[in-house]
């Protein structure tokens, strides 16, 4: 092996800088899953009867289902009875003021670089902070309320806006949709809820920050965003977890409802703990994300996936209304022993619907990266258009990249394009940059960022900077 290649491998073994855990006084249920646990969660949250019934239906469905094994993933068996399904920081804040946030929680978020103090906030972003499945605080509530925007924890929404929740919960991802969505529907503990009224352009970016803190717990959060007619919202999501030797399960569901002529832009920077360089520990990330776009509506998913031992995630758009638009922009990095099987589904139901998919997979170390995507045009999808581009970048010799596109077209007027490429960071590229005076780390970071350019361009400014930094850190090793 040449020296440069060895260097690349060293560079890609970055340490995880969010691996600390915080000593919070936590209310935690004993491990195990049965109907009583579902009832316990519902009772803890003081939920209405219809929601308990919904959970129980999901639990019943889940028990009859089998774990999916079609993904290109090597997964150690998950013992669902060894996981605790309820963990919450014991001190609950009064939600009106940031000063009431538990100082230890506030310190934890400060350490993560996410100030919850509104005075300290640098950017125009409202944040819902979720620790171990429970929303601990939501910032900027007053400003948002003036615009008529509802942004709160899911639990709060259930209490305050039950009709909105009941109308839309499960309307995009039904409880029986898949194994992990069913599990989430049964045991989800909290998450974020957002409603943008008719004609309102949300005055700021909305953001949820997820943190798993406790040991042996799973995180099952639920996000529901409803954009009413002619509204617009941009939503950001970030995630980290402590460094632990055992795998932890994260099974979230995100549902987006974009009504007529509305637009939802959903951006994720996922940085769950990926496990160590021997593949020990790390988060199992099984996420169902889907949006329904009505007439002339647009849903855009942008994701930067650098964390998790396993990522199983296909943010999708059901293009139901005529002229609706779906977009998927993705950067997925698998280094160390990470495995990612990720992509999207674009289901063209309405006429003149358009979707575009730009996927950038980066594999390093022993990482395995699979793009799996479905473009489906129903008989009703007259003049549907899709453009798909899947690019893979390989760093080193032990990693792998795989592209598995599925295309199903039932309407002959549809136009589908698919482009794919696989490349490596050549020693020649590094040498060329170094001859021009750049260090090897700078050169590598520049080349990888260049590879991801089209996706980063889609992220809101603060997130784009964060994503570039994250990618550099994940690749360079020295920082942290």
């Amino acid at each position: 092996m040449s020296e440069t290649l060895r260097d690349i491998e060293e560079l890609t073994e970055a340490s995880y800088e969010y691996g600390f855990s915080t000593d919070l006084d936590t209310d935690i249920a004993p491990p195990g899953l049965n109907e009583d646990v579902v009832r316990l969660i519902s009772a803890k949250k003081n939920e209405p009867e219809w929601l308990l019934a919904w959970r129980l239906k999901a639990f019943e469905a889940w028990q009859a289902m089998e774990e999916p094994d079609w993904a290109k993933l090597q997964i150690a068996p998950i013992d669902y009875q060894a996981i605790s399904y309820w963990a919450a920081p014991r001190k609950k804040p009064v939600l009106d003021s940031m000063d009431d946030v538990d100082p230890e929680i506030r310190e934890m978020f400060d350490k993560l670089g996410i100030p919850l103090h509104e005075q300290k906030m640098l950017s125009n972003v409202a944040i819902d902070a979720v620790v171990d499945s429970v929303s601990v605080t939501t910032t900027f509530k007053k400003t948002l309320a003036e615009a008529g925007v509802i942004f709160c924890s899911f639990s709060e929404a259930v209490q305050e806006y039950p009709d909105l929740v009941r109308e839309h919960l499960g309307s995009v991802v039904p409880v029986r949709d898949n194994y992990f969505a069913a599990l989430n529907s049964a045991v989800f503990s909290d998450g974020s809820f957002c409603y943008i009224p008719k004609g309102v352009r949300c005055p700021m970016e909305l953001s949820t920050y997820f943190r798993i803190n406790s040991e042996n717990t799973g995180q099952f959060e639920r996000t529901l965003i409803v954009a009413d007619d002619d509204s617009h919202v941009s939503y950001l999501e970030g995630c980290t977890a402590p460094q632990r030797d055992e795998n932890q399960l994260h099974a979230a569901v995100v549902e987006l409802v974009a009504k007529d002529r509305s637009e939802i832009k959903y951006s994720t920077v996922q940085n769950w703990y990926p496990g160590d360089e021997n593949g020990v520990g790390g988060i199992y990330n099984f996420v169902t994300k889907r949006g329904r776009a009505h007439t002339d509506a647009k849903i855009s998913w942008t994701q930067v996936e650098t964390g998790s031992a396993i990522t199983w995630k296909y943010p999708s758009v059901i293009l139901q209304g005529d002229r609706s638009v779906g977009e998927f922009y993705s950067v997925a990095l698998s280094s160390k022993h990470q495995q990612a099987d990720t992509g999207t589904k674009m289901v063209h139901i309405g006429a003149d619907t358009t979707s575009s998919i730009i996927s950038k997979g980066i594999s390093a170390g022993h990482g395995q990266n699979t793009y799996r995507g479905l473009v489906k045009v129903l008989r009703s999808g007259v003049n549907a258009r899709n453009y798909t581009q899947c690019d893979s970048l390989l760093l080193g010799k032990e990693c792998g990249a795989h592209t598995i596109p599925y295309i199903e077209v039932k309407n002959p007027s549809a136009q589908i394009e698919h482009e794919a490429s696989t490349s490596t960071i050549g020693e020649d590229q590094l040498y060329y940059c170094r001859q021009r005076g750049m260090t090897e780390e700078d050169a590598m970071s520049m080349i990888v960022n260049g590879f991801c350019r089209e996706v980063f361009n889609e992220l809101p400014m603060e997130f784009a900077v964060e994503a570039q930094r994250l990618l550099s850190v994940s690749l360079e090793g020295s920082v942290g």
């Binding site: 020649d428 040498y431 060329y432 005076g437 700078d442």
Partner: protein
């Protein structure tokens, strides 16, 4: 300025350079010519610091030992290489690349970084030199460039980096006559009393445009003949045949036991 003494380079068991000696003074332009496989490109890469060679001998620039330095440190010391095959870097904006390169070198030298605005001025002048249009800066580095554009981009980079020593590896290969004229014009404009150049080429053609002070013939890893530009004209007429024989003169007098050709 550049001093090369008894330089050898090998990849595994294959010896490529076999004791090369060369001195290049400040402001001089030296042409190195030679047949395929004589070690011309390897020589360029040993100066620039490419990985993968086993090297012995001495290469110093202004007294500083280049062989002990990483490629980026050599760049900071003033070494620039014009690549025979410039690589493509998709998604990386050409202007961003050039400014990062210039600032990397400035930083290593302890100079202040150049702002985007100042840089644009520098780039503008350099682009005029190689007759490049503004949109050239907005494209990704070498991605989708024609052969001629890639080579022009190399000279553009040289104009921006303002190196002490430029090694141009077959800058003329694959160029039509107009592109050759533009590139040679750029190179000539960059000649100066403080800058030395080594121009590596197969053909005398380039030397019609860039008049070298010295011409060296590289055969089988050694410089076998040096002279002024008339030497290049001689090569044009007679090829390398004379020097290939010369090369054989240096071969062991007795064939190795058991080897018969």
């Amino acid at each position: 300025m550049l001093h090369v003494e008894n330089l050898t380079a090998a990849i595994g068991q294959t010896k490529i350079l076999k004791g090369l000696n060369l001195d290049v003074g400040a402001g001089e332009v030296h042409a190195i010519m030679g047949p395929n496989g004589s070690g011309k490109s390897t020589f360029a890469h040993t100066i620039a610091g490419r990985d993968g060679y086993e090297i012995t001998g001495t290469v110093t620039l202004d007294g500083a030992d280049l062989l002990g330095m990483e490629p980026e440190d050599r760049a900071a010391a003033g070494v620039f290489m014009g690549f025979q095959y410039p690589v493509e870097i998709p998604g990386v904006n050409n202007m961003y690349f050039l400014r990062t390169a210039l600032n990397s070198v400035r930083r290593s030298r302890g100079d202040t970084e150049i702002s985007a605005r100042e840089f644009l001025k520098v780039a503008k002048d350099a682009m005029d030199l190689v007759e490049m249009k503004q949109d050239f800066l907005d494209r990704a580095v070498n991605a989708g460039f024609s052969g001629g554009e890639k080579k022009r981009n190399e000279i553009l980079q040289m104009a921006i980096m303002q190196p002490r020593l430029a090694v141009l590896d077959e800058t003329d290969s694959g160029l039509d006559i107009d592109a050759l004229r533009i590139i040679a014009g750029g190179v000539n404009a960059l000649r100066g009393p403080e800058r030395s150049m080594i121009v590596i080429t197969h053909y005398q053609r380039l030397l019609d445009y860039i008049k070298p002070d010295f011409v060296h013939v590289l055969v089988d890893g050694r410089i076998v003949e040096s002279g002024d530009h008339t030497l290049a004209l001689h090569l044009e007429d007679h090829g390398y045949a004379d020097f290939l024989n010369h090369g054989l003169d240096d071969a062991p007098e007795q064939p190795l036991t058991g080897v018969r050709s």
